[in-house]
């Protein structure tokens, strides 16, 4: 629950969190596991049965070790809010998440930096999923409109035998600033991983996405997907990487990037490496201008080019 003396800070964060699409009531519900971080402090924490949350202070930030016990299936998603309410600064966050055998949990994370101007957020998530575990981590960001945020978010997942891992990163409502999203998952036998990044970059935003899946165990399957829209002078560079290291593995990488604006720059680089002749990897990419046929289809129904473009972009970022 909310730590004493931090109620006012929580209220300020809550307002920004709600603007980001979060539901503050979840943090006040005792049935829901939650973590609230503001700056370099944990200002709210709620564990539920089967969930162990251990926060600790690190230099310029916070580390939280989270463990879901064997066989525990969480009815409600774990809510994580990471905020920074100052204008300038540096914040480091480390999440070490372990799901024991056959545990199942969904994490809903919101990062809100509503007033940040000269700010760096450096996040690292280490995930370990034991055999048969199921985890989804949905991370949505809400920044300020200054575009001067530096954001580095890295996730490294070890997905055990028959386990499932879905990791999504979304930043589509506000300016991005400088963003680096690095997701990596190593999969054991029959494990499945889906990595998905959605970003809308405007003005002089600069985005780098790298999603890597290593299909190490026999029968493992992976999907690395990025949808990005770059407007104005924004730059978006995407690398989707898949390694077929074992027999009967299947992987697909997919990238959709729309570029619109003078000075805009987008790139997509699929890397597929097969080290076993029974592995099958595929890729698909579409980058550049808005698809003409899609545009004309919508315009033939009465939308202007701008309205049609907006609807197409909305689909890509939803």
């Amino acid at each position: 629950m909310i730590v004493k003396d931090f109620e006012r800070e929580f209220e300020a964060l809550a307002r920004a969190y709600e603007r980001a699409g979060g539901d503050v009531s979840k943090f006040l519900d005792k049935r829901i596991a939650s973590v609230i971080i503001s700056g370099d402090r944990v200002i709210g924490l709620n564990g539920v049965e089967g969930v162990v949350l251990k926060p600790s202070k690190i230099e310029s930030g916070v580390q939280v070790d989270m463990e879901i016990g064997a066989g525990v299936v969480l009815e409600h998603p774990v809510h994580v809010c990471t905020g920074f309410l100052e204008r300038k600064g540096y914040q480091r966050v480390i999440f070490n998440i372990t799901l024991r055998r056959n545990a199942k949990a969904i994490f809903t994370a919101h990062c809100v930096f509503p007033w940040a101007e000269e700010f760096t957020h450096d996040a690292l998530m280490n995930v370990r999923l034991e055999e048969g575990a199921w985890m989804e981590y949905h991370d949505e960001h809400m920044h300020s409109e200054t575009g001067s945020i530096n954001l580095i978010t890295r996730s490294i997942a070890d997905v055990g035998m028959g386990a499932f891992f879905r990791n999504t990163f979304t930043l589509v409502k506000t300016r991005v600033g400088k963003l680096k999203v690095f997701m990596e998952a190593s999969l054991k036998e029959k494990a499945i991983a889906e990595l998905f990044t959605k970003v809308k970059a405007t003005k002089d935003d600069d985005v780098e996405v790298r999603e890597t899946i290593k299909l190490d165990g026999e029968g493992a399957r992976g999907l690395a997907k990025t949808n990005a829209v770059a407007l104005d002078r924004a730059k978006v560079s995407v690398v989707n990487e898949m390694y077929g290291n074992s027999p009967n593995t299947r992987g697909h990488v997919e990238c959709v990037e729309i570029a619109k604006g003078e000075g805009v720059e987008v790139s997509a680089l699929p890397i597929l490496i097969v080290k076993n002749d029974l592995s099958e990897l595929t890729h698909e990419a579409s980058i550049g201008r808005v698809n003409v046929k899609q545009l004309q289809t919508l315009m033939a129904k009465g939308l202007t080019e701008e309205e049609a473009t907006e609807l197409i972009i909305k689909g890509i970022l939803t």
Partner: protein
């Protein structure tokens, strides 16, 4: 009334449509027949005013207004629409958002449900589906027909609505066309299928970009079956016609 008056369309110096004269009236159904490469889809794009399909000669008139230079959106706002032979697919766009054009086409959920049912799609199963690659060709066609129904157009060109749809569903297309016409829409059907063409009020037969024949659908279909189906010079009409047009 929508009229094409001496419309020519050239691409890379080659005439794709020549001296096209056609009139389309609200509430009526027209069938456009022709072998592959006759210029049927090009005609559809010229009517819709797609980018790169402006007539090189001639005029397109809508109720007397010259819309030859109007872009797609302006034509659509005046009630003209087109269903592509292979409709586009979208990333992440929900069927409901597609059918309502992101809320711009004010139609009720009931209307959407009815349109989907008319084209043989269960609203409960499809409303939240994405209009993406996961829909089969036939499903995508049905979605497009539902979209046309909801647009309530004055003029709609259906470019081979039956292709990719199983033969059992031809009745569904008939039913949609009938309803559109009953409600006052003019339907221009581009088709190869005899049973669909025969339902039209009037037919045009295209061959190498010219109107080779026009008239009652029965007559045109008979000619098409007798001459075009077995044609040993497809899209090579007689010299007389070709020379006459050049003159």
């Amino acid at each position: 009334m929508l009229a094409l008056v001496d419309v020519w369309y050239e691409s890379d110096g080659k005439a794709i449509l020549k001296n096209i004269n056609m009139t389309f009236e609200p509430g009526k159904v027209y069938a456009i027949l022709g072998t592959n490469g006759a210029g049927k889809s090009t005609l559809a794009y010229v009517i819709m005013g797609l980018e790169g399909y402006r007539p090189t000669r001639g005029r397109i008139l809508l109720d007397g207004e010259d819309i030859t230079d109007f872009p797609v959106t302006e034509r659509a706002k005046r009630g003209i629409t087109l269903m592509w032979q292979e409709p586009a697919r979208f990333t992440g766009l929900r069927l409901k958002d597609y059918l309502t054009l992101g809320g711009k086409n004010k139609v009720s959920d009931e209307e959407i449900k009815r349109a989907l049912e008319m084209v043989g799609l269960n609203p409960h199963l499809y409303m939240e589906r994405l209009v993406d690659e996961k829909l089969s060709g036939g499903e995508r066609k049905r979605v497009e027909l539902a979209s046309v129904i909801l647009l309530k157009p004055k003029y709609v060109v259906l470019d081979e609505p039956d292709s990719g749809i199983d033969i059992m569903s031809v009745d569904m297309i008939d039913h949609v066309v009938e309803e559109l016409a009953e409600k006052g829409s003019c339907v221009v059907l581009i088709t190869h299928r005899e049973e669909i063409a025969l339902k039209a009020d009037h037919s045009y037969l295209l061959c190498r970009g010219i109107v080779l024949k026009e008239g009652h659908p029965g007559e045109i279909v008979s000619f098409y079956k007798a001459s075009c189906d077995r044609c040993d010079h497809p899209n090579e009409p007689t010299e007389r016609i070709d020379e006459g047009l050049r003159a």
